[in-house]
C-alpha cells in the first residue's frame, strides 16, 4: 500500500517535470550532445553517409588559419567591447543618477540603442560609415580636412568599426543594471564618506565601485557571452570581410555550416566555442568571487 503511494508520488513528480524536461532536452541537451557526436564524423554528402573519422575534424581546425584568425578577432572584439561598454555604462549611470534636468529623457535616450533591433542599428551605422557621404567622413572632413575613408572596407579598421557599433549598442543596456544598483546604495554611505573628508573620486573608488561589484560581475558575464553571440550586425556591415578581418567565431561557424554546408566541421567549431564559453564563465566566477561583496 505504502509502496504504491510512493510510486504514485514518483510518477506525479516526473509528470510535473516532463514539460520542462522535454523542452530542455529537445532544444538544449540533445543538440549539444549531437553536435559533440557529429564533430567526430565526416560531413554526409549525397549518397555518402557520415563516417566516424575520430579527431580529424579537430586536426583540421587546429591547422585552419581562418579559425585562428576569427578566434583572434573574437579576442580583440571582446577586449575592445567589454571594458569600454562597462566603463561607459558606469559613467552614464552615474550621470543620470544625479539630479539633472530632463533626467528621464536622458535615461530613455541611453536605452534606445538596446530597444532598436540590431539589424536596423547596423543599417543606420552603415550610413554613418559610408565613405565620402557618411556622418563620420562629413565630420572629419569638415573639422580636420581628412580625405574620405572606407572604415568598413579596410582590413585595418573594419573590426574596430564594428567594435564601436557594439559598444554603442550594449552600453545603454548595461547602464540600466548599474542605475538600478546605484539607486540601491543608501545615500547616507556617500554622506558618511563625505564627512570623513572623501572627495568624489575617493567615494567612487572606495565605496560606490566596490558596492557595484555584483552588478559588474553580472554585466561582465553577459558582455562576454554577447561578444561571442552577437553577429547580426556583421552580416549587414561587413559580411565578415574584408579577408575575414571582421569575422567572429560564431560568424565563421555560420559560414562553414550553412554557406559551405560542412556541417561536421561546423559542429567541431561549435564544440570549440562551447568549451571556450564555459571556461570563461567558470573563470569569471572564480576570479570575481573573491572580489565581490554580496549583501
Amino acid at each position: 500500500m505504502r509502496d504504491l503511494k510512493l510510486k504514485r508520488d514518483w510518477i506525479h513528480g516526473w509528470l510535473l517535470l516532463l514539460p520542462a524536461l522535454v523542452f530542455l532536452f529537445a532544444f538544449t541537451h540533445i543538440p549539444a550532445v549531437t553536435t559533440l557526436i557529429n564533430s567526430f564524423f565526416s560531413t554526409p554528402r549525397g549518397r555518402r553517409s557520415a563516417k566516424f573519422i575520430g579527431l580529424d575534424n579537430y586536426d583540421r581546425m587546429i591547422n585552419d588559419p581562418v579559425f585562428w584568425k576569427v578566434l583572434w578577432n573574437n579576442l580583440w572584439f571582446a577586449l575592445g567591447t567589454i571594458p569600454a561598454s562597462v566603463a561607459l555604462a558606469i559613467v552614464m549611470a552615474l550621470w543620470v543618477n544625479d539630479k539633472l534636468a530632463g533626467r528621464s529623457f536622458v535615461r530613455m535616450a541611453y536605452f534606445t540603442p538596446t530597444v532598436l533591433p540590431l539589424i536596423a542599428v547596423a543599417n543606420i551605422w552603415l550610413f554613418f560609415y559610408t565613405p565620402g557621404f557618411g556622418l563620420f567622413d562629413q565630420i572629419t572632413g569638415f573639422l580636420f580636412g581628412w580625405p574620405a575613408s572606407n572604415y568598413l572596407g579596410n582590413p585595418e579598421t573594419a573590426l574596430n568599426a564594428i567594435i564601436v557599433v557594439t559598444v554603442w549598442k550594449e552600453a545603454g543596456f548595461f547602464m540600466i543594471f548599474y542605475l538600478a544598483a546605484l539607486q540601491a546604495i543608501p545615500v547616507s554611505l556617500k554622506e558618511a564618506a563625505q564627512i570623513e573628508g572623501a572627495g568624489r573620486w575617493t567615494i567612487f573608488w572606495r565605496i560606490t565601485f566596490p558596492l557595484l561589484m555584483p552588478t559588474t560581475l553580472f554585466v561582465c558575464v553577459n558582455a562576454v557571452i554577447n561578444s561571442f553571440r552577437l553577429v547580426d550586425h556583421i552580416f549587414i556591415l561587413t559580411d565578415g570581410g574584408p579577408d575575414n578581418a571582421s569575422a567572429l567565431l560564431l560568424f565563421y561557424i555560420y559560414e562553414v555550416a550553412f554557406r559551405f554546408w560542412e556541417t561536421a566541421y561546423g559542429a567541431t567549431l561549435t564544440v570549440a566555442l562551447l568549451a571556450l564559453l564555459s571556461l570563461l564563465a567558470i573563470g569569471q566566477f572564480f576570479f570575481f568571487d573573491r572580489k565581490v561583496h554580496y549583501k
Partner: protein, 356 residues
C-alpha cells in the same frame, strides 16, 4: 577610570538666524542657537520639526537658505562637510558594508593619508575604548545592532574631531541596549571632551544626556535650556506638554470659577506635582486608573477638563470616586494665551486665588 585614551578639545557652534526652505515649505525658520564648546546639546522635537535638517546643515550635507553657521568662530556656511572638521553618526549607522570593522573605522584616516603606524595605534585605542578589539576583522553585516552602533561611534571618534554630530543614533536599538548606549555615549563625550550635537525625538534621551536641550517645533526654536530648567520652567505650552510623561495638564484659567476674571491665561500643572490632600483646593472625579507599579496614574475630570494625576499606591482609588487634591503654589505654570509665553509674575497670584 583610567586616563582618557584620546583627548579632544571641542569647538563652539553658533547658528545665526538660519533658515532652510524648499519652495513653499519651510523646514527651519530663523533659528539661532549657541552650542558651547565641549557641551552636549540635544536637538529635541517631534517628527518633522526640522531637527534633522538643522543637524544636516551644521554637517554641511544640506545647504542653508538664509543665515550663517559658525564653528569655532569661523563662518562655515558655504564650506563642504570635509572642511568643517567634524564627525557624524547616522541613524542607519551608514557603515560601509564591503569593508571590515577596522577598515570602516580608519576610513577617514586613510582618506586623509595618516601614516600606517599612527592609524594602527589609534585603531587599537579606539577599539579598546569601545570593546571592538575582537570584531575588527568582521564585516558590518555580521554584527549585532549594538555592535554596529559602536563601530559607527568608533569611526566618529577616531578622527579626534572637535565636533561630533549624531542623528537619532539609538532609535534602531532595543530598550535595554538603548539605555546602556545612552550612558556610554554620554561618558564618552565627557571623557573625550568634544562638542556634541545630538538629534532625538525622545525627551528621555535629551533630558538624561544633554547639558543643553534645544526644543524645536515646526522649524522654530521653542526653548533652549538646561534639562532641569526645561522641565521646571517650560517657556511655552508646547514645551510644557512635550517634556515629562505624562505631559503637563493644561487648561484655560477660566475653567475654574475662582479664576473667571482671568480668561486670557492658560494654566499648567504637572501630574506629579499634585498630591492627595483632605482640604485641597481642587476637586477631581476619577474616570480611569492606570496602575504603574511605583505609582498610580489617575485620569480625572477637574472643572470639566480632563486632568492626569500621579498618586502613591498606598491609598486605593477607584473610578467614579471623587478626591481632593492639593499642590505647592510654585508648582503652577501660567502661560499667556495670546503670546504663548510664560508669565512667572502671575504664578503667586493665581496660586493663591486657586488655593483660597
Amino acid at each position: 577610570m583610567a586616563k582618557p585614551a584620546l583627548e579632544i578639545s571641542g569647538k563652539p557652534i553658533t547658528l545665526e538666524s538660519v533658515s532652510r526652505s524648499w519652495g513653499e515649505t519651510v523646514a527651519v525658520d530663523n533659528l539661532s542657537i549657541e552650542v558651547p564648546a565641549g557641551s552636549f546639546t540635544a536637538l529635541l522635537g517631534p517628527s518633522g520639526c526640522g531637527k534633522s535638517t538643522t543637524l544636516r546643515m551644521i554637517a554641511g550635507l544640506e545647504s542653508v537658505s538664509a543665515g550663517r553657521i559658525l564653528i569655532g568662530g569661523d563662518d562655515v556656511t558655504g564650506k563642504p562637510s570635509s572642511k568643517r572638521d567634524l564627525s557624524m553618526v547616522f541613524q542607519s549607522y551608514a557603515l560601509f558594508p564591503h569593508l571590515s570593522v577596522a577598515e570602516n573605522i580608519i576610513f577617514g584616516l586613510k582618506v586623509r593619508r595618516v601614516s600606517r603606524a599612527e592609524r594602527d595605534e589609534r585603531l587599537k585605542r579606539v577599539a579598546d575604548l569601545l570593546g571592538l578589539s575582537l570584531l575588527l576583522e568582521r564585516k558590518p553585516g555580521q554584527l549585532s545592532g549594538g555592535q554596529q552602533q559602536r563601530v559607527a561611534l568608533g569611526r566618529a571618534i577616531i578622527g579626534e574631531k572637535p565636533i561630533c554630530l549624531m542623528d537619532e543614533p539609538l532609535s534602531n536599538l532595543d530598550a535595554k541596549l538603548r539605555h546602556e548606549m545612552r550612558l556610554e555615549i554620554r561618558s564618552l563625550q565627557q571623557q573625550l571632551g568634544f562638542t556634541m550635537v545630538y538629534v532625538t525625538h525622545d525627551q528621555v534621551e535629551a533630558i538624561t544626556m544633554a547639558d543643553q536641550v534645544v526644543l524645536l517645533n515646526e522649524g522654530q526654536l521653542e526653548q533652549a535650556a538646561e534639562p532641569r530648567e526645561l522641565y521646571e520652567k517650560p517657556a511655552s505650552p508646547f514645551a510644557a506638554k512635550f517634556i515629562g510623561t505624562p505631559p503637563m495638564n493644561l487648561f484655560p484659567a477660566n475653567a475654574f470659577k475662582k479664576l473667571s476674571t482671568a480668561p486670557d491665561f492658560q494654566l499648567g500643572i504637572r501630574p506629579e506635582a499634585m498630591h492627595l490632600a483632605e482640604d485641597g483646593p481642587v476637586t477631581a472625579d476619577i474616570r480611569a486608573v492606570e496602575y504603574l507599579g511605583a505609582d498610580i496614574l489617575a485620569d480625572c475630570v477637574v472643572a470639566e477638563t480632563s486632568f492626569q494625576v500621579r498618586l502613591p499606591t498606598n491609598r486605593a482609588v477607584a473610578p467614579g470616586q471623587s478626591i481632593q487634591l492639593g499642590f505647592e503654589p510654585d508648582a503652577l505654570h501660567v502661560f499667556d494665551a495670546d503670546t504663548g509665553r510664560r508669565r512667572d509674575d502671575l504664578v503667586t497670584e493665581f496660586g493663591t486665588l486657586l488655593r483660597s
